[in-house]
């Protein structure tokens, strides 16, 4: 209970900070919009309509992957600015609460972005969901959490590195590959409606498993990372 109290306190702080600046989330939204446009220009969905549905799952997640990576890179920068991180390290509250709070805050941001993005995506790619659309409400949060939890963790890990912006993708991309595979397969399955429901379920279960394992590992190891110096 105490622990949840700390988590809530950290989450509230992050949301408040974000609310104060608000630029980040606006920028983020615009960035994702731009990604969609770049992808659609690059992959010309109108040119090959038959192809579109098959690659749109991939495009969606690759776009979100890069967008959230850009955002996550920034997510500890406020802690870093005035050495606030050292104040956090000196605080007697558990370090992992800080991590969970920030991951939740990031999750909320990315979900907000997705909510705006979804309709635009549908329009630009001229999509009709042929499968069970409700499953998307399960796949999207699971996939997002997979990106966010590792992203938050490794952004903290890379904080003191020289080439911070470059480092995060280098670590995060290989780690996220399995998750990306699962999300893309599941999403494409729902969009095309061609995938056997049994396979679909297995992809989703695996994704949930991935989330669970990595969340536990992140929470357990965060204190070590924070006090790495």
């Amino acid at each position: 209970m105490k622990y949840l109290g700390y988590v809530f306190e950290h989450l509230r702080k992050d949301l408040r900070l974000e609310w104060r600046s608000r630029d980040a989330i606006n920028g983020m939204l615009f960035f994702v919009l731009l990604m969609v446009v770049v992808f659609s220009i690059a992959f010309d969905p109108a040119g090959y309509p038959s192809v579109t549905r098959q690659i749109s799952g991939g495009i969606l997640w690759v776009g979100l992957l890069f967008a959230s990576m850009t955002a996550l890179n920034q997510s500890w920068s406020r802690e870093q600015r005035n050495q606030v991180l050292e104040a956090q390290r000196m605080a007697p509250s558990p370090a992992s609460a800080l991590f969970v709070g920030k991951a939740l805050a990031n999750m909320l941001f990315v979900l907000a972005v997705e909510a705006v993005l979804a309709p635009i995506f549908v329009v630009f790619f001229n999509l009709h969901v042929l499968g069970n659309a409700k499953l998307l409400a399960l796949i999207l949060p699971l996939g997002t959490w997979a990106l966010v939890v590792n992203g938050t963790f490794f952004a903290a890990l890379g904080l003191r590195a020289r080439n911070r912006e470059l480092l995060l993708p280098l670590i995060l991309l290989p780690l996220s590959l399995p998750a990306v595979l699962m999300m893309v397969q599941a999403t494409t399955g729902v969009l095309t409606g061609e995938l056997d429901p049994i396979y679909l379920r297995s992809w989703i279960t695996q994704l949930a498993g991935y989330d669970l394992i990595y969340t536990v590992v992140c929470v357990l190891l965060f204190e070590t990372v924070l006090n790495a110096e």
């Binding site: 109290g5 408040r16 050495q83 956090q88 390290r89 605080a91 006090n227």
Partner: protein
């Protein structure tokens, strides 16, 4: 993380001590085999040239870096066991620029509460003590250098620490502001500690003259070693 055996061993005079501590960065030794102790209730000013290892020593005591060799002991145990009794202020504010001083302090106060110990002063009081108005709605990022330094000090004072570590608290301050800070710190040393016990102060500076009122003990460092320790200029 059980709070092991000797919590109250500081009655044995030392609030903190270093036991042949070395800190090596790459091939460079920032601290070389330093052994010293800081008596409970004392106030120590650490002087020394650039790169002498002053900041490194404070950070070892704060538990922010682990020594390469040797041991740091704070209140009879490793530094991270007594986080609620120790506070560290560096030359950065260690506060969020976008929040007001009050919001910052309240946030950090909640992180210190719990653990069955209510050893946290109120943020308002701490702000008043350093001469800031708790009702100020400007975020800390818009404060002047002097106001920041005060807010930063309020952050460490509100947790009511028994061991206070200050790294160059006067750098970039003009003489008047620095004087006020010294007075405040001298006052802080007289505040009573709830459970009994005394307050220990360790600070580094380049302006020895400014810190004189606080210098029970003056410790001079050079090239990672303590080369001089003089006691009792005052206090």
């Amino acid at each position: 993380m059980s709070t092991a055996a000797p919590i109250r061993s500081e009655t044995a005079a030392a609030a903190a001590s270093l036991d042949s501590v070395s800190k090596i960065y790459g091939a460079f030794a920032a601290l070389r085999n330093v052994t010293t102790s800081f008596p409970a209730g004392s106030s120590t000013v650490i002087l020394g040239e650039n790169g002498a290892g002053k900041s490194t020593m404070l950070r070892v005591l704060a538990g922010l870096i682990t020594p390469t060799r040797g041991k740091a002991i704070v209140f009879g145990g490793p530094p991270h066991l007594h986080r609620h009794r120790v506070a560290y202020m560096s030359h950065s504010t260690m506060l969020y620029d976008e929040l007001t001083a009050m919001e910052n302090l309240t946030y950090f106060a909640t992180l210190h509460r719990g653990d069955g110990c209510a050893c946290v002063g109120s943020p308002e009081m701490a702000l008043r003590a350093v001469g800031l108005d708790p009702a100020l709605t400007r975020p800390v990022g818009q404060y002047s250098q002097g106001m920041r330094q005060r807010a930063s000090l309020a952050r460490v004072l509100q947790t009511d620490p028994e061991l206070l570590l200050l790294d160059e608290p006067f750098s970039n301050l003009d003489v008047k502001s620095a004087g006020q800070l010294v007075e405040l710190l001298a006052d802080f040393r007289t505040w009573p500690v709830p459970g009994g016990g005394s307050r220990t102060l360790i600070l580094t500076t380049h302006q020895a003259s400014l810190a004189e009122p606080l210098a029970d003990r003056t410790l001079t460092m050079r090239q990672g070693q303590i080369v001089d320790l003089s006691t009792g200029t005052n206090g």
